[in-house]
Symmetry: C2
Subunit: 235 residues, 2 copies
């Protein structure tokens, strides 16, 4: 397994855009794995392509994997009959919200592991974060450590070769620190999209918009995405 080749779970949101630039300064090749999972905000897929082309990082290629998680449902992100809530910021992360997609990161990491094994990629990178987060159980460090072990017990490369490592560089950072890390690595968030509602102009009311706005506020800088679209619509 090539340790200098990375597979990056890449939605094109704030966290994975940060990691794109971070990994661009550390790995020889990067496969950006984007899931087309019947998400309400499938606009993020379109934007993820723009984040990549805008980055100018030429060692990265994108792979879009289709899996229809509406077959599972049970989440505001994959069932259009469930509304995305407007929670007060102080409540976010206190409980597991209705935007939680059952075991989404378990499914995504299993698919990522299969692809890494097939392609001989030694490192999987993801932007999970257990501080300043939405309360999803599959974004916690003990889960990531545990599934790394499961992946190495359940794959040929884990059994017979040097296996697959999972790196979660953002797991214990605050959202402010994530933006600072991105900026240190040259990140441009002009096309990085986070809103759960999937309209080109972010709603500002969903948990994801609120966490992102708080992050830029704490970092003391403007959100590149909002700057870009404000210019575009002339306000």
């Amino acid at each position: 397994m090539a340790d200098m080749d990375a597979l990056l779970l890449f939605s094109g949101g704030l966290d994975s855009t940060t990691l794109l630039y971070w990994a661009g300064n550390r790995f020889d090749t990067i496969v950006a794995l984007t899931f087309d999972y019947a998400q309400r905000h499938s606009f993020e897929i379109k934007m993820s392509k723009k984040v990549l082309s805008n980055s100018g990082i030429d060692k990265v290629s994108q792979l879009i994997f289709k899996i229809d998680l509406a077959q599972i449902g049970g989440s505001a992100l994959t069932d259009s009959s469930i509304e995305v809530p407007d929670n007060p910021i102080e409540n976010i992360g206190n409980r597991i919200p209705i935007t939680y997609v059952p075991f989404r990161n378990g499914i995504f990491l299993s698919i990522a592991a299969a692809l890494a094994e097939k392609e001989g990629i030694g490192t999987i990178i993801g932007g999970w974060n257990q501080l300043d987060y939405s309360g999803y159980p599959d974004c916690r460090e003990d889960f990531i450590k545990s599934i790394e072990r499961s992946i190495n017990l359940g794959t040929k490369v884990g059994r017979l070769e040097n296996g697959i490592k999972i790196q979660a560089p953002l797991i214990n950072l605050s959202k402010k620190e994530i933006i600072m890390l991105g900026k240190k690595n040259g990140a441009d968030y002009s096309y990085s999209y986070s809103c759960y509602n999937g309209e080109p102009v972010p709603c500002g009311h969903c948990d994801s918009c609120k966490l992102r706005a708080a992050a830029f506020k704490q970092a003391g800088i403007k959100d590149d995405y909002l700057v870009r679209i404000s210019k575009a619509i002339g306000r």
Copy 2:
């Protein structure tokens, strides 16, 4: 979570058909989860429905989940350009074969966990077997134990409720013992299909056909499927 409700990974092959009857005698309701994963032998999906209707077990319902694992490839089962090999029976299980689908059981179990969480089902059952088997790393007991732990760390039901148990009743049985267990529970294998090549008349040459034939020989009984089709084609 309802412990008496089970989600059974169900291909309709020898192992999962055995477990259908076994679970039918033990659980209140059963969801038989069948994957339509672009397998070469998609004929098994058609047959899995017949196994269920033929069983007369009315507490079972089937859920067919579509996920195109040809997007990963790397296996004779999901890449039509790779041939299914004809291995001598004594070599089967000695190494990981080309029919190994990268981390298939990791992906299937992650999806099963998401469905179990959504539906409030407390037990996942699968026919993994580490004796008399094909050498797949994701069919071994240490992997199953590890991913059970990962599932409970990464789901809402594992974090906040009594979690999801994985049962692997066949894990340490010989193929002969699997058939005896099935027969003790009333199993009829007339529609249970195992061949990797996907033709209605099993090829007899793939690892799966050979393991199945050896199993019935050891058990000293005839394979119900072969008896049925022999009658049907009058030979």
